[in-house]
């Protein structure tokens, strides 16, 4: 049995060799006369309103059903069925777009750019899962998100990620969210969509770099439960924070915890929290000093974040197309690059002046200076806050699903003897 996962990994690694085959080449039109009429280039028509309404209706229904399955029905089996449906509908049918995770970029741009009109469907896809999380916990992650579904179904041999590593790795998600928001706010790029790790599977098409990311993520997901959701997903990070204050939430046991400890190893996502005991008395004075020090250092973390963020702004600004163009043109003007590329050719033939281009790039750079400083300050706050959180003694009397970390997959239900009894009683 143990050989199967190993064989799967080797196979998947080997399949990576075929990645270049997925990239599409394009041919210029022929230079000679043929009978073939080259079709006129047209823009694809917008998705009809009916289908947009259908998308929102399916999302709402799926969220409602997921919430009911998680909180009332308490059925892992039906959660899986809904998860597979979502995978097919939002993943393979809708090809990963429209997507609540990617909507972060659209919503951010809509906030910072008054010229950008965000589609109402996008707005609903962003806010509906938040609303449901506020009331029912992370039912979106449980059975509606196609990215979560892909990772969930390939999880064959989950390895335990120790809590300290889990917390540390989550820093990546904060970084990713911050950078993604900054780049979207400045109109540079929607990086969350661009680097969606599973869209390649949904569309059967991607560039080689994305295929490599996708296969790698899939291989990791065999051993690490939902790696993208836990350590990278920016939307998951937002849902985590909303989940902390949700009205209803997953409970391992339907009634009382009997401290049987059977559920301890049930969660492959490390989201089951054990009951705590009082810290040793000797630890209290030290803990208090640490807490006071960290509270005092919080402004320092924020200031350092602002400083580093500001220092990074020229690098981050280089992701903006105007800055990229200005840099390229400058390199061409200074003779570093003698060949022109499509981007610079288009600029030269546009009739715009260099001064105008450089001034525009300068303006974008100024936006990045402010945005990067805010981003740095925010990350400083997150770092300080995380250290503070792990310096406080949290009292817990029962085995609980972590309010933020639980993705409501329902795996723990069947481990609980009280749940089994509850099921039996229901049948009777």
């Amino acid at each position: 049995m143990n050989r199967l996962p190993r064989i799967s990994i080797v196979l998947l690694l080997w399949l990576l060799c075929t990645v270049p085959a997925m990239s599409i080449q394009r041919f210029p039109p022929p230079e000679f006369e043929t009978d073939h009429t080259i079709p006129t280039a047209t823009q694809p028509s917008a998705r009809s309103v009916g289908f947009e309404i259908l998308d929102v209706a399916v999302l709402t229904a799926a969220l409602s059903l997921a919430s009911w399955l998680v909180l009332k029905k308490r059925s892992r089996r039906w959660i899986v069925v809904l998860m597979l449906f979502s995978l097919v509908y939002f993943g393979f049918w809708r090809k990963g777009c429209i997507c609540s995770i990617g909507a972060i970029g659209n919503v951010t741009l809509a906030i910072f750019d008054s010229n950008y009109a965000i589609p109402w469907v996008m707005l609903l896809f962003f806010f509906l899962p938040l609303l449901f999380t506020l009331f029912f916990g992370r039912s979106f992650c449980a059975a509606v998100c196609p990215l979560g579904a892909v990772q969930d179904v390939v999880l064959l041999r989950p390895l335990e990620i120790v809590p300290w590593l889990e917390t540390t790795l989550r820093l990546l998600a904060w970084l990713y969210l911050s950078v993604a928001v900054l780049l979207a706010a400045t109109g540079s790029a929607f990086v969350i969509c661009r680097y969606d790790p599973f869209v390649a599977f949904f569309r059967f098409s991607a560039n080689p770099a994305i295929w490599i990311i996708s296969f790698s993520m899939l291989i990791i997901a065999i051993f690490v439960g939902r790696p993208y959701c836990r350590f990278l997903c920016p939307y998951g990070l937002i849902l985590r924070q909303v989940g902390r204050i949700s009205k209803f939430r997953v409970t391992i046991t339907p009634d009382e915890c009997i401290h049987c400890r059977l559920c301890e190893g049930a969660c492959p996502f490390g989201a089951i929290e054990k009951p705590t005991v009082e810290w040793p008395r000797t630890e209290y004075p030290r803990g208090r000093r640490r807490l006071i020090t960290l509270i005092c250092l919080l402004p320092v973390f924020i200031a350092a974040g602002i400083w580093i963020g500001h220092a990074l702004h020229p690098k981050l600004a280089a992701n903006h197309p105007v800055v990229q163009l200005a840099q390229r043109v400058k390199l061409e003007q200074t003779g570093v690059h003698l060949e022109t590329i499509d981007m610079s050719k288009a600029f030269y033939s546009s009739g715009q002046t260099l001064e105008h281009l450089y001034a525009s790039a300068d303006q974008v750079s100024s936006q990045f200076a402010l945005g990067s400083a805010i981003m740095g300050g925010f990350l400083g706050l997150v770092i300080g806050g995380t250290l503070l959180t792990h310096s406080i003694f949290w009292k817990r009397a029962e085995y609980e699903a972590h309010r933020a970390g639980c993705v409501a997959c329902g795996r723990c239900y069947n481990y609980c003897p009280r749940h089994r009894k509850w099921l039996k009683d229901k049948k009777v």
Binding site: C17, T18, A21, W164, F204, E264, P314, S391
Partner: protein, 576 residues
């Protein structure tokens, strides 16, 4: 009952394993086929595409070759078929691959579900210590991660290369280009800086012998004929050659004479080319190239322009169309900062009807920076960009005007109506005077001080009506100006009033223009004899050196070097 369950369980498990194996085998086969397809698409198709491009180039040179055209059509069609077949295969293969992978994962999950992991209850240790330790570990690892990320960020800020697009507080950023000072340190245009035929390099050799090889550093064959002169930038020498169906730029290594690269300037299919009237003496490559130290730009008789990087990549090409020129287009290119300047004097109409213009192209892109209409007929002199007083001017002469332009904008500064006939000599400036030659008839001196608008009546200082050259350009210092008639009549005139100082009949015919080197003047005859004479008020021959090969192009100079384009070879002359 239990046995039956066990059998069912085993069958189910074995089915799952079987499906997983079949799915795995199919995945491998599909992946292998996709990999083979990758090889075909990424390796074979580009190679055949390159062959196709080569054939297309050949077809441009031989537009009437129907067999080649058919072969191109056939190859192109086949390449497209292969490409689209490959893409079809990729699409279908990817779908199949994903389906088999889904089967593989599904059946593996199915197999795994037959042996569910039973809940384990591990013995609990000291919870108090464990909690404290976990919290401590978390803080430590998190802090280490933060330090690593911050260090990485700082390293990125401090050490990663960054191109700043800063707007200077004093004003907007301006484009950077080769400065005029840099141009003046080299031999970048026809007759050197300003086109004046004055060499400021030291240790120029005065003795050599082409037959014995004495002081000949190297001698390299030139692949195609042409009458244009070499231009030199550091250790790179550029010249061009062309025939009716081929036009090329050549780059030579100044140290070894090795031909480093040959760049083809494409000839577009144009029926008017067949009617192009090129005089044999002019040829298809009469125009000298221009370089800015990063690129070299060349123009040919058919109005085709090609700009190459120093490593021989064609950066851009431009086609002005077949020029209406009586003897064939022959004006060399010049440069001003970020612009290549072309004197496009064509046609036979004057005034507003004229098709002539002065064109400035961007070195970088070949895009037009400015174009100024010129009210002149077709002519053959090269434009020059020279410092007149404190400002740079683009100087031109043609029939009937000598016109100066602002090289930055193309705006006309002043003009004098003083020439007629088939103008070929390039204008020069000395002692704040602009000198222009009307072939066979006269030398005109124009005062450039305070010149503006039409200066025909106000700024022409003097005109000397003597036998004047029809090809060679003059050369001057602050005292004298020398003119050289094709048949070898050398005339020396006073720059102040145009009085004749002396005339001397040289031994031979001349097409190359003379060059001043310090107190000596170098005159290269068609036979390949270089006369070195004194620049005093009397004719005095200092030395005479034979190259042993016919020469039509003006020589180029570098530090301690003379580069001579002879009929078939490029020579470097200098002390070993």
């Amino acid at each position: 009952m239990n046995d039956l369950n066990a059998i069912n369980e085993r069958v189910s498990y074995q089915s799952a394993i079987g499906i997983a194996i079949v799915a795995a085998v199919f995945s491998i086969i599909i992946a292998a086929m996709l990999a083979a397809n990758v090889y075909s698409m990424k390796i074979h198709i580009p190679v055949r595409s390159a062959e196709l491009e080569k054939m297309k180039e050949q077809a441009k040179a031989n537009p009437t070759d129907q067999t080649l055209a058919n072969l191109i059509l056939e190859t192109d069609t086949q390449l497209r078929r292969d490409q689209f077949a490959g893409l079809y295969f990729v699409r279908r293969g990817t779908i199949l691959l994903v389906v088999t992978l889904v089967l593989l994962v599904g059946s593996t999950i199915w197999a795994v579900s037959h042996h569910p992991k039973a809940p384990e209850v591990t013995p609990q240790g000291d919870l108090k210590t464990h909690q404290v330790r976990q919290a401590s570990l978390t803080r430590t690892s998190f802090t280490i991660a933060v330090v690593v990320i911050c260090s990485g960020a700082l390293f990125w800020v401090l050490y990663a290369p960054q191109l700043d697009i800063d707007t200077d507080e004093d004003g907007p950023v301006v484009s950077l280009y080769t400065s005029m000072d840099a141009y003046e340190q080299q031999w970048p245009v026809f007759r050197g800086p300003g086109g004046f035929g004055i060499c400021n390099f030291k240790n120029i050799p005065d003795t050599w012998d082409g037959t014995s090889g004495d002081n000949i550093l190297w001698k390299t064959p030139i692949p195609l004929p042409g009458h244009n002169s070499p231009v030199v930038w550091d250790n790179r020498i550029f010249l061009t050659g062309a025939t009716e169906d081929k036009q090329q730029v050549f780059c030579f290594d100044a140290d070894s004479g090795e031909l480093l690269w040959t760049g083809d300037v494409p000839i577009p299919a144009n029926p008017a080319r067949e009617d192009m009237d090129i005089m044999e003496d002019t040829g298809y490559a009469a125009c000298t190239t221009v370089t800015d130290g990063k690129r070299v730009c060349a123009i040919f008789a058919g109005g085709d322009i090609g700009c190459f990087s120093f490593n021989g990549n064609l950066l851009w090409e431009k086609h002005l169309g077949i020029p209406d020129s009586m003897y064939g287009y022959a004006a060399s290119l010049t440069a001003y900062e970020n612009m290549v300047i072309i004197q496009w004097d064509v046609g036979y109409d004057e005034g507003d009807e004229s098709k002539s213009k002065l064109i400035a192209l961007d070195w970088q892109t070949g895009n037009s920076v400015w174009e100024t209409h010129r009210p002149v007929v077709n002519s053959w002199p090269s434009p020059t960009v020279a410092k007149v007083g404190d400002v740079y001017q683009a100087l031109t002469c043609s029939n009937p005007f000598v016109i100066a332009y602002d090289p930055a904008t193309g705006n006309e500064l002043y003009r004098a109506e003083c020439l007629s006939g088939d103008i070929a000599s390039t204008p020069i400036v000395a002692d704040n005077k602009l000198f222009a030659i009307e072939p066979y008839n006269k030398l005109v001196a124009i005062n450039t001080e305070n010149a503006s608008g039409d200066i025909t009546e106000t700024h022409i200082l003097w005109e000397t009506e003597e036998e004047m050259p029809d090809i060679c350009s003059p050369v001057a210092n602050d005292q004298y100006i020398w003119t050289l008639v094709t048949q070898g009549l050398l005339g020396c005139y006073n720059v102040t009033d145009g009085t004749q100082v002396y005339t001397h009949q040289m031994d031979g015919d001349f097409q190359a223009s003379p060059t001043l080197v310090g107190d000596a003047m170098y005159l290269l005859s068609e036979k390949g004899t270089m006369f070195i004479i004194a620049t005093g008020p009397e004719y005095k021959e200092i030395k005479r050196n034979e190259l042993g090969e016919k020469c039509y192009a003006s020589p180029a100079f570098g530090p301690g070097r003379i580069y001579i384009r002879a009929e078939e070879h490029l020579y470097a002359i200098g002390a070993e």
